[in-house]
Amino acid sequence: MTASGLTAGALAATAGQLALVVGGAPLLVGLMRQVRARLEGRAGAGVGQPWRDLRKLLGKEAIRPDGSSWVFTMAPLLLLASTLVITAVAPFLSTVSPVEGVADLFAVVSLLMLGTVALALAGLDTGTAFGGMGASRAVTVAALAEPTILLAVFALSARVGSSNLADIVESTLTTPAQVLSPASLLAAVAFAVVIIAEAGRLPVDNPATHLELTMIHEAMVLEYAGRDLAMIELASAMRLTVLLGLGANLFMPWGIATTVAPLPLLGAAVVFAVKLGVLGAGLAVFEVFVAKWRLFRVPELLAGSFLFGLLAVSASFFLA
């Protein structure tokens, strides 16, 4: 295969990955809601409902509160753009990528943080009590969650000797026994907790509530409407998908293509979709059986997951 053929294939892989995540993220959210509804004995709105909501919101004008500045206007764009970049570079379908150098652990975590900070600032920019309250809570959670992602993935990268996500995935593929190493297991636990916190799921945040005073993520975005809200909803769904996707591929990378040939890519897309479906459904089932924690216990949970991350890093150095 020529270099240009490789690049074209890699571009196709990236494009496919983007299309899959953008198109699939709302379906994943819909699937999780549907699983939850069925388990609670309700009919549910159907898997396609988030897409229908997005279509409706996209057709409406974006009303912006008086006195809000460009910070408020920019936040949805920044959130969506940063999530799109992560989606493009993360090793979801293939370990070969035209932007391989960017798929760095630190770059991905920074991009996640960029979106969180943009939303928090937008929450403050509205000048409403709810926006400020949500921003304050979201930053508290993010300040504890983001370092944990860093640590958890760092534990995996230590043994590979690279902070490149694709390298980590490839290394796991060549030596599958690594998955069961103490470092990997500890990191997996830390990562799972962080996914829940970052994506605003129970028991940290309740995405289904209408009670403003209990909200974290939703409180920040209360003032958004129409297109802006659609962007935020889509980006939130994509962040959940990306986090679950990273979790899936860092700890269970099987099925990912190591080339950019069409057939393995197609296979990888199917496997990726199935993995996310299973993880999402699992998360939804978990959510049925837990209640929301008291806000002041959330830092305890995150501190615990940070400790798991730290242990994972230690284990990867001392037990390697």
Binding site: R36, G41, A129, V288, R294, F296
Partner: protein, 497 residues
């Protein structure tokens, strides 16, 4: 029908505080204060009640028409201070030396000097400009900020404005501002015959149809010395418990929902729906309208023991599942504690009082049918959200046990004496006390010689219990407010008549 003895005593302004002090020391509570406009004088009636045995004392105070004023009892009784402010807003009767002499019911945009309950008030004037801002107390200090919530809320909630002064997430002070929807119900009832006013009473608060309808009927029947058939008392007690059941079940689920435990909410909604359909079978109306009638009651059919046993076991299972979830238990335990002294002093009623160890229940204290005194007393001493949850759970059991007892005597159909034995010649008054699901409801009517209502005064338990909410919330964190508010679940409609 149990005979009630209401002692009516004329007092002077100078003697009033001493009388009140003696009554409170004797275990009485202030249940109702109503002002009346007589041709040449304003007459204020203070109704005090006590249970075991059922005692009711009315103090009547007259004050001149031109400059009506009464001595404030706020120092003796917290509820009195609130009733006085209400009376001042609606009648312009000034409580002297009141510690908080500002508006309660009429918001600032209502014109000064216009008192809607007076006979010369006329149609309501256009809203004026806000003369003064509402005097919210600003809490100062480093890091203190305010969160204003409402009066328009997400979800189907009635209007109320809550202002939290917060440091970090901890509530330093909560001010609940209500009375956004004054409907003028009491004014609307004036001049109607009891039969015409009955639909108003039935609609005071949609979730308390039976409670308010029954309190109104008892008041009118008390005034006319109108004895209803024995069977009517049984049917009324049955309807009252059915109302308690569906509301308590809904609250149990809503509390779980507020801590994100949606599955139990879904199941309580299922049980509630069963109860509402049962209500429809019993009275033809899901919210039990048309069951209680002046002079009696009517039910098309009665719930069977099987129906009730199924509901009790479902509720017991839901409660057990909630308590078995350690997160739910953690969220409920120790949250928003209302002490027994606080509950007693504020005059809180219903499950809020009982969860704080104040066992006050009109079914035992002021029974309209002897069987209701058999109801098991459900109290807790902790005063937290968990206690209010468990009291509701216990009351569901107690309610069904009482229903089993009542259903032995109850027969479906009409049980009514449609008019009193004889109509009195002059003006009469009557009081109805009913343990609605939220607490003791008090109605007091005065009926003129023409058979029309001269005055209807309604006291929903929410009016007395609302002030307990901010007290319980001191030191609680903001995200626990919705759950605490739900554990009180006070009525806006019943509060703001």
């Amino acid at each position: 029908m149990t005979e009630t003895h209401r002692r009516i005593q004329q007092v002077s302004a100078a003697d009033l505080p001493a009388h009140v002090r003696a009554l409170i020391a004797d275990g009485f509570r202030l249940a109702l204060v109503a002002a009346h406009e007589d041709p040449d004088v304003f007459r204020v009636v203070y109704l005090f009640t006590a249970g075991a045995p059922d005692r009711r004392v009315e103090l009547e105070l007259r004050t001149e028409r031109d400059a009506p004023q009464v001595p404030s009892l706020a120092a003796l009784s917290f509820p009195a201070g609130r009733f006085e402010r209400e009376m001042r807003d609606l009648y312009g009767i000034v409580p002297l030396h009141h510690p908080l002499p500002r508006r309660l019911i009429r918001h600032q945009h209502w014109p000064t000097g216009w008192y809607p309950m007076r006979s010369d008030a006329g149609p309501s004037p256009p809203f004026g400009s806000t003369e003064e801002a509402y005097p919210f107390l600003t809490v100062q200090g480093p890091g203190v900020y305010e969160i204003p919530v409402g009066p328009v809320h997400a979800g189907l909630i009635e209007p109320g404005h809550f202002r939290f002064s917060v440091v970090g997430e901890t509530i330093l002070k909560l001010k609940a501002r209500l009375w956004f929807t004054h409907k003028g119900l009491e004014k609307l009832a004036e001049g109607r015959t009891p039969a015409d006013a009955f639909p108003l009473a039935e609609r005071v608060s949609g979730d308390t149809t039976v409670g308010h309808a029954l309190a109104f009927c008892l008041a009118v029947e008390d005034a006319y010395d109108w004895s209803v058939p024995e069977q009517a008392g049984v049917l009324r007690a049955v309807l009252l418990e059915l109302e308690r059941l569906y509301n308590h079940v809904a609250d149990l689920g809503a509390l779980c929902n507020d801590v994100g435990y949606g599955i139990l909410h879904a199941h309580t909604m299922r049980v509630r729906e069963q109860l509402l359909r049962l209500n429809a079978d019993v009275t033809g109306h899901r919210l039990l309208r048309g069951g209680v009638l002046l002079g009696g009651a009517h039910v098309a059919q009665l719930p069977t023991s099987g129906d009730l046993a199924a509901i009790v076991s479902d509720v017991a299972e839901i409660v057990e599942l909630a308590l078995r979830n350690s997160v739910v238990l953690d969220r409920f335990t120790g949250t928003a504690v209302l002490g027994a002294d606080q509950a007693r002093e504020i005059g809180a009623l219903g499950y809020v009082a009982r969860a704080s160890g104040v066992d006050i229940d009109a079914r035992r204290d002021h029974p309209f049918h002897p069987a209701t005194t058999q109801v098991a007393s459900v109290t807790r001493s902790e005063g937290d959200v968990l206690a209010r949850f468990l009291v509701r759970a216990g009351e569901v059991r107690a309610s069904v046990a009482l229903l089993e007892l009542l259903l032995r005597e109850a027969r479906p159909g009409w049980a009514i004496r449609d008019r009193p034995r004889r109509l009195p010649g002059g003006q009469v008054s009557g009081v109805g006390l009913v343990e609605g699901w939220r607490g003791t409801i008090a109605h007091r009517v005065e009926i003129g010689a023409d058979g029309r209502l001269a005055r209807l005064k309604i006291v929903d338990p929410s009016f007395l219990t609302w002030p307990a909410l901010p007290v319980a919330l001191n030191g609680t964190i903001v995200p626990d407010f919705p759950m605490t508010n739900k554990s009180f679940n006070l009525s806006y409609a019943g509060n703001d008549l």
